[in-house]
């Protein structure tokens, strides 16, 4: 193996200060994107803007919550190799609070997204048995009051866990207390069941209830799998580009990138495994309630995209990431990471957009771009703001030295 890229020393790294160069454009683009999307929403493109916004919201929030779950899992496993990368994950996770105001925007649009929402114009599409089933069986869950309560629970859990873990970690930068590591490691496993349940039900509420009769218990895992994969891609991109003054990229070893590449490979396979598990059960059971969701996607105008998704979201990245050489070249790995981030957006489009256009097939609307940039700009800008005046790695973590000299087994 070629020698590690490590050149700097931990003691050379100070607090990260040079953010405005990135943060201001991110916020600016984000604000413009959001305004454009809202303009589209209020000037006729109601359905398109609402669905575009939902895709963008689910995309960026999923990455933030995936970072949170990642931090909790690594603490639970008492993993040491990734400690040099942990601050980035914590920052991504703590950015979950910016999604609270962004969610308020989504609440404006619920009527145009969910057929079960009272007064929704989409309710007209649901007739006969469907409507009866809907009102009788699902009303207890799919009603605005319970919906609001659930959203409050999700965001409370995410914000609390993210704040708890990050504030202990930040405090350790100052004091170096060993007790703080114990606290993080004890708190994380306890938080995991709550994180798993909230992300699952959030995906049910936001994405699955677009088609109220469509039910799949594995749907939450599907959403999580894609988001987790995307979070590893963001982590790789951030680490590759963290090369300036006081940034942790200078102490990261090739072995860390090798691991990130392996995790990207693993979760590419995991996504495919979950996606196929969900599809196989629905396809083989062929129940009238469930089958139409896939029927819409695998026959007719959505068929090419569904087949393309299998090859572009699984086959291509899987065989690309199999290469050991590639995983040892951070720049090339970053290119694959960007590719996966793009295809993950296509995956969410594939989940959401058919609810809007139906058999008409895949269409493009400019709000897809503006909403993506809007939510993305605001959340990335917020994450950069969180990183300001902090160390970009947990400098006083008791295991930081072990992480820095990590050697691939």
């Amino acid at each position: 193996m070629s020698p590690p890229v490590t050149t700097a020393r931990l003691s050379d790294l100070g607090r990260y200060t040079a953010t405005p160069k990135l943060m201001v454009p991110a916020f600016g683009l984000g604000a413009l994107g959001l305004l454009a999307t809202l303009a589209g929403y209020f000037t006729g493109a109601t359905g398109q803007a609402a669905h575009s916004y939902l895709i963008a919201f689910a995309y960026w929030l999923g990455i933030s919550v995936a970072f949170l779950i990642m931090v909790a899992i690594f603490h639970t496993a008492k993993a040491k190799w990734l400690i040099v990368l942990r601050r980035t994950m914590e920052t991504g996770a703590a950015s979950v609070v910016i999604f609270i105001p962004l969610f308020v925007v989504l609440l404006l649009m619920t009527k145009d997204l969910y057929p079960w929402w009272p007064g929704s114009p989409l309710a007209a599409h649901i007739t006969g048995l469907e409507a009866e089933h809907l009102s009788h069986k699902q009303h207890g869950y799919l009603n605005p009051t319970f919906f609001y309560i659930r959203q409050a629970i999700y965001f409370a859990v995410w914000a609390f866990v993210a704040w708890r873990l990050r504030s202990w970690s930040l405090k350790q930068d100052e004091t170096g207390e060993l007790d703080l590591t114990v606290k993080q490691r004890r708190f994380s496993p306890g938080s995991l069941p709550f994180l798993a349940l909230t992300i699952t039900f959030a995906s049910f509420d936001w994405l699955m209830s677009l088609t109220p009769l469509w039910q799949s218990t594995i749907f939450g895992v599907y959403y999580f799998a894609g988001s987790f994969l995307a979070a590893f891609c963001i982590l790789t991109l951030t680490t590759v580009n963290a090369t300036g003054a006081n940034l942790y990229g200078s102490v990261v070893k090739l072995d860390h990138f090798h691991n990130l590449g392996k995790l990207m490979l693993a979760f590419t396979a995991f996504w495919a495994y979950i996606a196929f598990s969900q599809f196989l059960l629905v396809w083989i059971a062929n129940i009238p309630e469930e089958a139409p969701w896939y029927g819409l996607r695998i026959f007719g105008s959505w068929r090419p995209l569904s087949i393309a998704l299998f090859f572009l979201h699984f086959v291509l990245p899987f065989f690309t990431l199999l290469s050991r050489n590639l995983k040892l070249q951070p720049r090339k790995l970053a290119v694959v990471a960007v590719y996966i981030l793009v295809i993950h957006a296509v995956d969410l489009y594939w989940l959401v957009w058919p609810a809007l256009t139906g058999t008409e097939g895949p269409t493009f609307h400019w709000t897809l771009v503006t909403a993506f940039i809007g939510v993305g700009g605001i959340s990335v800008g917020f994450a950069l703001m969180q990183a300001r005046n902090r160390f970009t790695l947990p400098v006083k973590d008791p295991y930081i030295a072990e992480s820095l000299r990590y050697v691939q087994p």
Binding site: F279, L280, I284, L322, R324, P409
Partner: protein, 183 residues
Amino acid sequence: MAAATTTLYSWVLAEFATPDALVSATRQMREKGFEGMDTYSPYPLHGGSEALGLPPSRVPFIALGGGLTGLATALAMQTWMNTIDYPLNIGGRPLMSLPAWVPITFELSVLFAAFGIFFGLLALSRLPQPYHPVFESDAFRSASTHGYWLSVPHATGQDATTVMDQLKALGATQVTVVTGEKE
């Protein structure tokens, strides 16, 4: 079995106290130009293959070949069984239904890839190896419990003192020479 055709091989064996000492000694011996060395330790040695300067392993390609063979076998087997040999209508599905064949295809790909890794590794390492001259050294038995050993090939019959001295200078706790017939 004629004694005249027997070739004798020799190795200088050196034991080190820690894995780090072994890896660093291996690297320095290689830098001095010694070739064909091997390391022995009770558990996988971090950095051992890099110190020995081994070429990239061929096992991944064997695994890929195994996996693709499994994939092709599973698809061919199911297609033949379900559409030609014993066509069976299940719930009105087409006779050739690819989604239903994915689980078997996946399992067989994994199985064949695992076979490829297991048997490919055995073959590339020339295992099982019931006899090797280094087994004659009693001290070498510690390689399977707590010792970290390095073997350096040596021309049979020649004086090994310089090699042994170099190994001792690199921190070897004990050094011996073994000679014997290979395989």
